[in-house]
């Protein structure tokens, strides 16, 4: 079981590096995912960390901590992506407006030339 997890972590990191290599991931996002991949690899090799952390926090069923952290990470990631999408929407709206106005100016110029 642990071996499967280690292999998954390694494959995940390979996929990340391939995506970065082919410029399919922007720097700021690739850093976050690399961190996630490294943490996943460390935890898969040293499973005891999760047990120790669960004990410290007072959780009986250690994997529950893993799920909790995993879910929290996903929520934060989705929230972060939502913020990014909002910014991009703002930019797209502005670009669309600028383009519309430029079209108009070009059209007017062509009309006055003919």
């Amino acid at each position: 079981m642990q071996a499967l997890w280690i292999i998954t972590s390694v494959v995940f990191l390979f996929v990340l590096i391939m995506l970065i290599n082919r410029r399919l991931l922007r720097e700021q996002y690739s850093m976050l995912w690399l961190l996630f991949g490294v943490v996943m690899l460390i935890l898969s090799v040293r499973v005891q960390i999760i047990d120790a952390l669960a004990d410290a926090v007072g959780i009986d069923y250690a994997p529950a901590l893993l799920f909790l952290v995993g879910i929290l990470f996903c929520v934060m990631l989705i929230l972060h992506l939502t913020v990014i999408v909002s910014k991009l929407s703002e930019k797209v709206i502005r670009l669309t407006q600028e383009l519309g106005i430029l079209h108009h100016e070009l059209h007017e110029r062509k009309r006055s030339e003919s």
Binding site: I20, E27, L95
Partner: protein, 260 residues
């Protein structure tokens, strides 16, 4: 991309530039964000010391009168509908240079820190074919405005990392005062980091099989306005740049074909 480097303009001096003795098509790119106070001085400075060059101000979504002032001083202006930062702004300039076939593209900051009288120093290595990217360095002779102590430490650390990655000693890795030839322009117009691109671009140039050259220059402190980088952001900047250099090392290298 195949191109021929010819040894034109082999003797470039401050005087020869001021007299307009150059057959090369030079574009001076001035990225500016809210620089209405310093932009006219910068444009006039460049016109005095390099009158044959074309000046392109990249108005990076300024909220003040940067565009009006720049146009009033006779510079061509590209106004970006939304602020992109120094990386996006400079890449706009490189795209323009690439599209309109300029031989050299020079970066001169809109805040007045770069002195136009030293343009010949960074143009010489590029025009004579010795380098594809010439960087004006404050730290070769350690004269002029050298930035704050904290930033100098940060720059030294980054310099060590970049020198190790490129296997060539580079000192002033954050200097924006640089000249790029057609090969470097073709690289930058398609790949230029949006955040803190000065450092990343040095590694990118080397991985593209091109050459950099560092020349000693003197820089001024800002003439007006406020900097977008302050002391508190320096540490954050350091961490981000180091990580982005690591990411750059993972990206596939695309060597540029050069015929000579």
């Amino acid at each position: 991309m195949n191109a021929v480097i010819t040894k034109k303009d082999s003797t470039v001096t401050g005087e020869s530039l001021r007299q307009g003795n150059t057959s090369s098509k030079i574009l001076i790119i001035i990225p500016a964000y809210n620089e209405e106070h310093s932009i006219s001085h910068v444009i006039r400075d460049v016109k005095t010391h390099c009158p044959s060059a074309h000046i392109l101000v990249i108005n990076d979504g300024s909220k003040d009168r940067t565009r009006e002032v720049a146009e009033a001083n006779g510079a061509a202006v590209v106004t970006l509908p939304t602020n992109l930062g120094i990386g996006g702004a400079m890449q706009t300039g490189y795209r323009y240079a690439h599209r309109y076939g300029y031989d050299v593209a020079v970066q001169v900051d809109g805040d007045g820190q770069h002195k136009a009288e030293q343009l010949y120093l960074i143009l010489e290595p590029v025009l004579s074919g010795k380098a594809d990217l010439a960087i004006g360095s404050r730290f070769i002779e350690q004269t002029g405005f050298l930035s704050s102590a904290t930033r100098r430490v940060g720059i030294k650390i980054l310099s060590t990392i970049v020198s190790a990655m490129t296997r060539k000693r580079v000192l002033d890795v954050t200097s924006g005062f640089r000249a790029a030839n057609k090969h470097a322009i073709s690289v930058f117009q398609s790949d230029y980091a949006t955040d803190y691109p000065e450092v990343d671009s040095i590694v990118l140039i080397h991985r593209s099989g091109l050459r950099t050259s560092e020349v000693a220059v003197v820089m001024d402190a800002r003439t007006g306005g406020t900097s977008s980088i302050n002391a508190m952001r320096s540490v954050y900047y350091m961490v981000k740049v180091t990580l982005s250099l690591f990411i750059r090392s993972l990206k596939a290298a695309k060597p540029v074909e050069v015929q000579s």
